[in-house]
């Protein structure tokens, strides 16, 4: 073969080998890492042809079903990093393996309307209403951020929240996290959530505000599981980076707590959903992840009823609170469309605690459903 033909031969060989792999790999229907269904070969009907979406749909199909998809994603993520682009899918790779979610796109009017919803609820109902917002990991572990990282303005927002609230009580979670952040890992490094240790610090603050005596650390037995790869990890494509450890803080009686998830018509004993420990993303081990309503019943607890209006930041701490309350209701307003005040009446709760990640509080609109 002629020398000059070589690059062309390699080019064609590359093209054809991928094409052949494409033809002979069976289509995947679901991507665990992306947590979504992958596009299948489009059905070509008159509708598609008219709307000129054909090439778009074909492209989505080809890229979703591309051979070695996750491998190529990783190659690109690390190449970008090498070129100095440290913004893979809005994840900032910090020092010592930290993966921070980029600062939330703060929406001033969204935060204001969310706070207004909480205030209205607090003033129109007789229950005591508290609000607790967990700052982002990039704010607490700012010293581990990469150079030229964008600014985390969480401190500013929290101050604004504290000033705005009057009918509802403001609870501060940021201070204790900031103070203790060097002693132990309070957030997962590959996920945006609080670790058990972080949740415990927040739980102590909650207890103080709610007038409870927190159970000491020595009353828990810690079980440790490795290879927890959180959402920051799976969205970044940094596959070579290590996962986190996830800890279950067990206490006497945690298996006797009855967890009821009405939307799934399921009731089971124990606050830990161990089957999720099999997956890369192990966080749903706490209360099985997001549900419209989750009811925890602990017959041997000393206190009455508490309602948490929450996002997933509350899931781990809820396990600690279940030790105090006979009935703990977790309401997720993204899915729960009934009035929380009705739930208050039905359950006789005396306290409602809005427990959110600050990023959600400044960007998500579902708190408008609080009534």
């Amino acid at each position: 073969m002629k020398r000059k033909a070589l690059p062309g031969v390699l080019f064609l060989a590359f093209l054809f080998s991928i094409a052949i792999l494409f033809l002979f790999t069976s289509p995947r229907s679901y991507s665990l890492r992306e947590k979504r269904y992958l596009a299948q070969f489009p059905e070509i009907d008159a509708q598609v042809l008219k709307s000129a979406q054909l090439s778009q749909q074909l492209e989505t199909w080809a890229s979703d079903q591309f051979p070695f998809r996750d491998f190529f994603v990783g190659v690109c993520a690390y190449t970008d990093l090498l070129l100095g682009k440290n913004t893979a899918q809005d994840v900032l790779l910090g020092k010592e393996g930290w993966m921070f979610a980029a600062p939330a796109e703060y929406d001033a009017s969204r935060l204001a309307s969310n706070l207004a919803a909480v205030e209205t609820f607090a003033s129109e109902n007789t229950v005591e209403t508290y609000l607790l917002a967990i700052p982002e990991s990039g704010f607490v572990y700012a010293d581990a951020l990469p150079a030229f990282a964008p600014e985390y303005r969480d401190g500013e927002f929290l101050a604004q929240i504290e000033q705005t609230l009057s009918a509802a009580h403001y609870m501060d979670g940021a201070n204790v996290l900031k103070q203790a952040h060097e002693e132990e890992l309070l957030y997962y490094q590959t996920d945006h959530h609080l670790t058990s240790a972080g949740s415990y610090r927040v739980y102590e603050e909650l207890c103080e505000a709610l007038g409870l005596e927190p159970y000491g650390r020595e009353t828990f037995t810690v079980q440790c599981y490795e290879d927890f790869y959180g959402t920051a990890w799976s969205s970044s494509g940094y596959w070579l980076h290590d996962g986190d450890e996830i800890e279950l803080w067990r206490w006497d009686g945690d298996e006797a707590v009855c967890v009821e998830i009405p939307e799934e018509e399921s009731t089971r004993m124990g606050i830990f959903f161990m089957e999720h420990l099999e997956n890369e993303d192990k966080y749903p081990v706490y209360l099985d992840g997001n549900h419209a309503l989750t009811h925890l019943h602990n017959a041997s607890a000393p206190e009455g009823t508490l309602i948490l209006v929450k996002d997933s930041f509350a899931h781990c701490a809820a396990g600690f609170l279940a030790r105090h309350y006979q009935d703990l209701y977790l309401v997720d307003l993204r899915y729960y469309k009934d009035a929380v005040s009705t739930l208050v009446e039905q359950t006789g709760a005396e306290t409602v605690c809005v427990f959110y990640g600050l990023a959600n509080l400044t960007t998500d609109s579902s708190l408008a459903w609080l009534r």
């Binding site: 002629k2 020398r3 000059k4 033909a5 070589l6 690059p7 062309g8 031969v9 390699l10 080019f11 064609l12 590359f14 093209l15 054809f16 991928i18 094409a19 494409f22 992306e34 947590k35 979504r36 008219k50 000129a52 054909l54 090439s55 074909l58 492209e59 199909w61 080809a62 890229s63 979703d64 591309f66 998809r69 190529f72 994603v73 190659v75 690109c76 993520a77 190449t79 070129l83 100095g84 682009k85 440290n86 899918q89 809005d90 979610a101 939330a104 150079a147 030229f148 964008p150 600014e151 945006h192 959402t231 969205s235 494509g237 997001n290 996002d311 990640g357 990023a359 959600n360 998500d364």
Partner: protein, 464 residues
């Protein structure tokens, strides 16, 4: 389908190359036409009729002009009709909305609704090609094409269908029916294609991200943010367009066609006139050949020359898009070129290389700023940044620019022929070949990774 997509590379292109070379030579044109139409069909199924009509009607007019028995008047009538047909297609599909918008501002016509017709892919390019065909045949520069399959391939050839280059009929007339593909030509085409793919995927896309990131900041993040954005936009346009042209020429070669170069390191130009001889060469050539020279070119009074330049440049601007900023952008170049022609002769002749380069780069950057904003108010907002009211450089803008700095440096380097010169200096042919092989495979591998990554779309309820 764009060339820098997985479906194009690994399904469409792989399939077409395979079939093309499996078939005997005489069947290849038919396959190619089918492949072109499929390519067009995937992008805009409905407009396939437009493409077929365009091929058919221009073919017929070409034959009418070319008839040996045709009288001069008949030939002229056929030419005029053909051009009217092509221009009407362009006007109807590209400019209706624009003109309707202008008319509706006049009280009498205020009832005219806003019209938006989706732009058929490549219409600006293939209508110019068919016009060049009719004119060339009319001028008897080339004989008309009798084979409708070959003519169909000329109009719809997928490598240059979407974004040029605008191939003049006379440059490919011979190749359409009588070309000899060879493995060496495929190989050099593959290298050119890889080069274009790298320009598009690695540089242009990244510069586009930087431009959008800076544009999203309050006041572009200050004076230097706005300046950085202009550079990013200039790099994005150049690498996008010249990358696309390289891919087109490379693909052409893979199927045995040779298209003329469309870009020749324009950012190194020493004058604006030189810039336009190096940027989108096929468009400049088209306007010179079919508008400027027929209007009289330089062989007339100075006033008439200035008028000719103004006409050509306003049309060139308008060709780029149906909105006022493109007209303004064209007029801006018209003014600069008139200035250079009559008053800045030393710069225009390239006798002031350093001053000329600085002036040209500044002028071109400012031109791209006009080009970038299709609303005049956005242009005003952009220029307002330079009075310092948004500061010099915000932290966010600095972070963005730093993140893209290595690629910007690479872009600046790749805007010069340095790499090509260095490669040319290598004496050992085997080292050269090895280097080419490595480049082709590396580009394909990493471009594929980048394309897959673009589609990586985690649905993670990230914050929850």
């Amino acid at each position: 389908m764009v060339f820098s997509s997985l479906i194009f590379l690994y399904i469409y292109l792989a399939g077409v190359i395979l079939l093309y070379y499996l078939l005997p030579r005489r069947a290849r044109n038919v396959l190619l036409l089918a492949a072109n139409l499929l390519f067009y069909f995937c992008g805009e199924p409905v407009y396939i009729y437009l493409m077929l009509g365009s091929i058919g009607i221009n073919y017929v007019f070409g034959r009418l002009i070319d008839r040996p028995s045709a009288l001069p008047g008949q030939r002229k009538t056929a030419l005029v009709c053909g051009i009217i047909f092509d221009l009407s297609l362009l006007c109807i599909f590209k400019y209706t909305g624009f003109f309707a918008g202008i008319l509706s501002k006049i009280p009498v016509f205020s009832a005219i609704p806003a019209i938006s017709i989706p732009l058929p892919i490549g219409i600006s390019f293939y209508t110019f090609q068919t016009m060049s065909y009719l004119i060339d045949v009319y001028r008897k520069d080339v004989p008309g094409q009798k084979n409708i399959v070959a003519f169909g391939n000329y109009v719809s050839l997928f490598p240059q269908l979407i974004a040029g280059p605008i191939v003049r009929y006379r440059d490919v007339a011979e190749q359409l029916t009588n070309r000899k593909e060879s493995m060496e030509q495929i190989s050099s085409g593959a290298q050119l294609f890889a080069c274009g793919l790298a320009k598009k995927v690695f540089i242009a896309n990244a510069m586009g991200e930087l431009w959008s990131a800076l544009a999203a900041l309050n006041g572009f993040g200050g004076v230097f943010g706005a300046l950085g954005a202009a550079f990013a936009f200039a790099f994005q346009l150049y690498f996008d367009f010249s990358g696309y042209s390289d891919m087109a020429r490379g693909l052409g070669r893979i199927f045995g066609f040779e298209f003329l170069e469309n870009f020749n390191y324009p950012y190194l130009s020493k004058s604006v006139s030189e810039f336009w001889r190096r940027w989108h060469i096929s468009l400049g050539t088209w306007f010179r050949e079919y508008v400027y020279i027929p209007l009289g070119g330089n062989r007339c009074t100075r006033a008439r020359q200035a008028f000719n330049l103004a006409v050509v440049w306003i049309l060139t601007g308008f060709w780029h898009g149906a909105s006022w900023n493109f007209v303004l952008w064209g007029a801006y170049y018209g003014v600069l070129l008139i200035l250079e022609k009559f008053w800045m002769k030393k710069i225009a002749a390239g006798q002031r290389p350093i001053l000329g380069r600085i002036y040209t780069l500044t002028a071109v950057l400012f031109g791209w700023v006009i080009f970038a904003f299709d609303r005049m108010s956005d242009l005003g907002t952009y220029l307002h940044v330079f009075d310092g009211s948004y500061g010099l450089l915000s932290a966010d803008a600095a972070a963005q620019i730093t993140a893209y700095l290595p690629l910007m440096i690479l872009a600046a380097f790749a805007s010069t022929p340095c790499a090509r010169v260095l490669y040319g200096r290598i004496q050992n042919v085997w080292v050269k070949t090895a280097l080419s092989c490595i480049c082709v495979v590396t580009v394909l591998f990493f471009a594929t990774a980048a394309l897959v990554y673009n589609s990586y779309n985690p649905f993670l309820y990230f914050r929850f």
